[in-house]
Amino acid sequence: MKLTKRLLMSVVALGIAGAMSGTALAADTIAIITPSHSNPFFKAEADGAAAKAKELGYATMVLVHDDDANKQSELFDSAIAAGVKAIILDNAGADASVAAVQKAKDKGIPSFLIDREITTAGVAVSQIVSNNYQGAQLGAEEFVKLMGEKGNYAELLGKESDTNAGIRSQGYHDVIDQYSEMKLVAKQTANWSQTEAYTVMESMLQAHPDIKGVISGNDTMAMGAYAALEAAGRKDVIVVGFDGSNDVRDSIKKGGIKATVLQPAYQQAQNAVEQADKFIKTGKTGLDEKQLMDCILINAANAEKLETFALKP
């Protein structure tokens, strides 16, 4: 009987929770662990996951690891001790996070990864991975088109410790390097930071006043770079970003930054919770573990449909 089975499951869950130090939670809870919400992308993920979890009747435990694998490990310990039913995770390192996901699995808690993948299969139940490489190719194709397939350009890289920084750069070069008249004159990290990108762009411009375009690993850096270009009277420089933020959308609508690439973060997070719910109730998701979620090019043609990392139909 359904009721008996649910009672049994609750008793088992309470038993597991009770066996550890820490308080057991009254309602079924899903933990949502991401990088810092100061980046609206991760906030949108957390909000999307929390909204779907509440809709499905779960309580939520929302935590941030600040891209620190050690902190992430501690957060996993807390979630495990609290007896959560599932963990939604945007992880702090593809190799470093495997251990955390494994230890949750060992305690009977399934993990559903979003955005970033880990390098081992069979540990998380789902890995709903943003196809950053494909997205970067889209951004680069648009960049090359806007540049007329030639000219001097600069690249702003993300934080080196973040796998996505490398993936996007590789995706950019996979496309751009096929065009022999596109010349990379400057390449530097601004660590995903808007203020750092401003300073980096300023110095790049001084060293290379003939820059025609800038391709940026993410939107916050693109915003910083564009502000520096504007201040230097160089609104002619073509800037392309990545993420699909509201800030860059607004810039595109005003004719500033030319394009960005949307990762459907809100939808991804909601899908993860739906899969967690199905897994909790039936023991499976019905889907492959690794699911690639494609990105979408955003430019003047569709920018007005973009809102908080989702495209309105």
Partner: protein, 205 residues
């Protein structure tokens, strides 16, 4: 057992969870597993699979006018989640209205299928080829058997390069010619003009 043979065997067995591809010191064997996959599957598996399942472009476009999702369910496969689209194997005969290879590296042939003098679709001629339709349209290349999206993307690129290498050379002007083609295409919206990645283009005599 040579690492390459082992690799191909395990790929076919489709159960390489957690396996990491490691280059051996064996200089004779292909140290590039991606190149190995392309060499062992492109002509013998991919092209036949696309050719066998290909819908006529005209038929497909009619179906899409009715409903993209219904056309997708009948003729294609959905890839890439919310940001992705319907992948279709496709074939047809058409007249080339424009050949842009002289003016861009992402050369295309604008093709007229229904004879009304207007371009109905575009064939990618290369050398720069966009997208991963060749990788994604059949079930030959499963993402879960690859270490990460970078390796998976390398496969997509290698398949595109292989396909482009088989097309008529750039010095053969295609404008005005009648061509038969087979390829794959991703469609996200009913109104877009299909950008087809061909595995073959034959110029009709």
């Amino acid at each position: 057992m040579k690492i390459t043979t082992l690799f191909v065997a395990s790929l076919l067995a489709a159960s390489v969870s957690g396996c990491k591809l490691v280059k051996t010191g064996d200089s004779e064997a292909a140290a590039d597993p991606i190149a190995e996959i392309v060499e062992t599957t492109f002509d013998t598996k991919l092209v036949p699979a696309l050719t066998e399942k290909a819908a006529e472009l005209a038929t497909l476009q009619n179906a899409i006018k009715g409903s993209l999702d219904k056309a997708g369910e009948s003729y294609g496969v959905r890839v890439g989640g919310a940001g992705g689209g319907w992948n279709f194997p496709v074939k047809g005969t058409a007249t080339v209205l424009e050949d842009t290879r002289a003016s861009t590296k992402a050369g295309v042939a604008e093709i007229d299928v229904d004879g009304d003098g207007k371009a109905d679709a575009t064939l990618q001629l290369g050398p720069v080829v966009k997208g991963s339709a060749l990788r994604d349209t059949t079930n030959l290349y499963d993402f879960s058997t690859f270490r990460d999206q970078i390796e998976y993307a390398k496969l997509g690129r290698a398949l595109n390069d292989k396909a482009a290498s088989k097309l008529p050379a750039a010095d053969i002007e295609l404008k005005g010619k009648k061509v038969n083609f087979v390829g794959a295409v991703v469609i996200r919206t009913a109104s877009e003009k299909p950008l087809i990645t061909p595995v073959s283009i034959e110029v009709a005599p």
